[in-house]
Symmetry: C2
Subunit: 68 residues, 2 copies
DNA sequence: GAAAAATATACCCGAAAGGGACTATTTCAA
DNA sequence: TTGAAATAGTCCCTTTCGGGTATATTTTTC
């Protein structure tokens, strides 16, 4: 599981939101949210950032493998 | 400029590579490398990670606006 | 300042992502 | 255990990204 997928899944749950609720609030498609959480690698960066922005986060470069 | 675009551009130059050389070595298209460095937001995450992997990095969630 | 190299922009097409809707499977509480 | 909610998988269509090529602009080097 990639770091971003794991982060979204974990924090969405922590916020008590279902995938559908999260999709609604973020303005993303439900299908996208699912694909993202399942670790789909070919997702678009802007959509990923829209999802991360729900937690005041964004995609940044990080050393590979840090904090498994 | 988004953090990833800035990182790639900066480190590619630091490595003494042109966009074309970087594209060759990473296996990415020249056009993609350019779009990425120019901050195109709709790029695919897997390609972004391929670029970052050249420096042993990957896209991870980071607090928004940290380290301008 | 001129020439060359590097980078940015434009056009086109094939491949694929995003998304809606529907179904199947898993999870979880009563 | 069972029934409802949540998540995962499938099909199809529309949009658009990725990349090749060709041209313009900027930057660098002499």
């Amino acid at each position: 599981m990639n770091p971003i997928a794991a982060y979204i899944k974990e924090n969405r749950k922590a916020a008590g939101l279902t995938q559908a609720e999260f999709a609604m609030r973020s303005g993303l498609g439900l299908r996208f949210v699912r694909d993202l959480e399942q670790g789909k690698t070919t997702v678009r960066l802007d959509k990923v950032n829209t999802a991360l922005a729900m937690f005041d986060m964004e995609a940044v470069p990080g050393r590979k493998g840090a904090s498994e």
